[in-house]
């Protein structure tokens, strides 16, 4: 605890970025779980939940992407931060495709929506891991 206070680089930005990454991952994970529930029960409400969770995930992941792009400033840029942006952008794009897929009525959203949700969650986890690694929260960039 005391160690982090002594660090010279203390910024609002890295923890906020981390919260966004964690939030997006959780929302996409919620969508995946809802998709699984719909596929097992045919209960349509799970499909609605998934659609809104993906929409929320896109909003939060979009904000995280802005933070990640700011991390590309020359003073902070590293191979990891570039990779982080790339993976996060891929997360967002596939998440958007997932949203379009979920806009199809009833079972037309399956199984493609479920497959996309799995990929998006994996990408979101990878982006979060890369982001945490590169920004070294609370530490020097």
């Amino acid at each position: 605890m005391s160690a982090s206070v002594q660090r010279p680089y203390v910024s609002f930005y890295p923890p906020f970025h981390a919260v966004l990454l964690g939030g997006a991952t959780a929302l996409f994970l919620g969508a995946l779980v809802s998709d699984i529930a719909y596929a097992r029960t045919y209960e349509i409400q799970w499909n609605n939940f998934a659609s809104w969770l993906i929409a929320g995930g896109l909003v939060v992941a979009g904000a995280a992407l802005v933070c990640a792009v700011l991390g590309l400033l020359p003073s902070r840029r590293s191979r990891q931060s570039v990779l982080h942006v790339v993976v996060l952008a891929a997360t967002w794009i596939l998440g958007f495709l997932d949203a379009l897929w979920h806009a199809r009525d009833a079972w037309a959203s399956m199984p493609g929506g479920l497959v996309l949700s799995v990929i998006v969650v994996l990408l979101a986890c990878a982006a979060t891991w890369l982001g945490c690694w590169t920004t070294r929260f609370g530490g020097t960039p």
């Binding site: 609605n48 659609s51 809104w52 379009l100 199809r104 009525d105 009833a106 079972w107």
Partner: protein
Amino acid sequence: MNRLSLTVALSLATALAGCSREAPPLQYGADPELPEPRRGLMPDMVIASPAGWGDRLPVVPEGFEVRAIATDLLIPRQTLVLPNGDILVAEGRGGNAPSLKPKDVIAGPIKAAGTTQVASGNRLTLLRDADGDGDYELQTVFADNLNAPYGLALVDNNLYVANQDAVVRFDYRPGQTQARADAPETLALLPSKINHHWTKAMTASADGRLLYVGIGSNSNITERGMVAEADRALVWEIDAATGMHRPYATGLRNPTALAIQPGSGQLWAVVNERDELGPNLVPDYLTSVREGGFYGWPWAYWGKNVDERVRPRNPDKVAESITPDYSLGSHVAALGLDFSSEVMGPEFADGAFVGMHGSWNRADPVGYKVVFVPFRNGRPAGDPIDFVTGFRDDDGTTRGRPVGVTVDPRGALIVADDLSNTIWRVSRIGAATAPPTLPVEPQPADAASDDATDATPGQGAPEQAPSR
């Protein structure tokens, strides 16, 4: 990489969005071509661009003329020609379906841009042409404070109105221009929860004892869940005397207009079919409605073609599905139906008129016209003939959208237009336009005799046959 991915994604989406530039298959008649289901990631939406009529008029066949007999209405949908020649117009907009998914929030305002911006009238307007010159000089509110009225039927002195939540009954006296102040009595409550498809089409049986009411599904294809579809996508038969009802036919996704075929007494319907299977699926249709028949929705379309979007599956119901009689084409949005008669001239004497509201989810828009489906020996025979066109230009400029169509026994077709809020009258040039023989003002003697006929409604005399 980022830009590349985006480009790939967008071109993928465009490619998947249904390449509908190819020639559409022939989709009229008993045996339409049905392509494979296809649904891109992005929907095809081509929304009408509303514009005023100005000096222009709809286009009608040679030997006919068209004029606007009422304007500035509040969303006219269906019309009823009364025995004395007066016309009743049901005005309103219903439905209270909440947005379910993000796409509903986005698509709702886009679709609304292609419709009228006026508020729902929730009323019946009466039009009168007392001197028979084709000019309806009286336009007055017959009844107010209704709830999205749509279907209309007159049996003797009973005027039935199908609101979006109930069938109500007014006492009607010949010549009456305004309903009595006391509210109409409710004959039967109708399924109205959500009301994704809210229009309650209605017609009376030939003997006037029964009412048929079309109740549309509560979703496109069960995306609101199967629970929401209880008592939906069917035609009810209601006993006009007691209000008791039963399902007459089921599996009809959205039966938007009903009519009794003269002579046979057979019930016919136009039905709007499901979306999101591509620009050429599923054809809207005109069909005779068999008692106890099941017409496929949601498990199957056009007979026994399985709709894979519905879970759980139901092979038994698929096997049971009746193939409709006559395809009108996909996405034309048929909303009006009435059978013709000799008064429309020899070319249009035997058949049915169908009002087509027009598509919103097709790259190459269709509908936006009134067609005549010729019949022979009581069955549809031949391709539909354009009867009223000119509602929409190729550049998307849309001046009107036809809904209800009603044959006026004086030799005209009454067309309700819910975009320009106009009633059009397409009449045969030279057709008799003499004032009706029935008295225009109520007379005590007639009122008494009407009461007398009430006990034995409509015994086949043409004057007593229920109007649609």
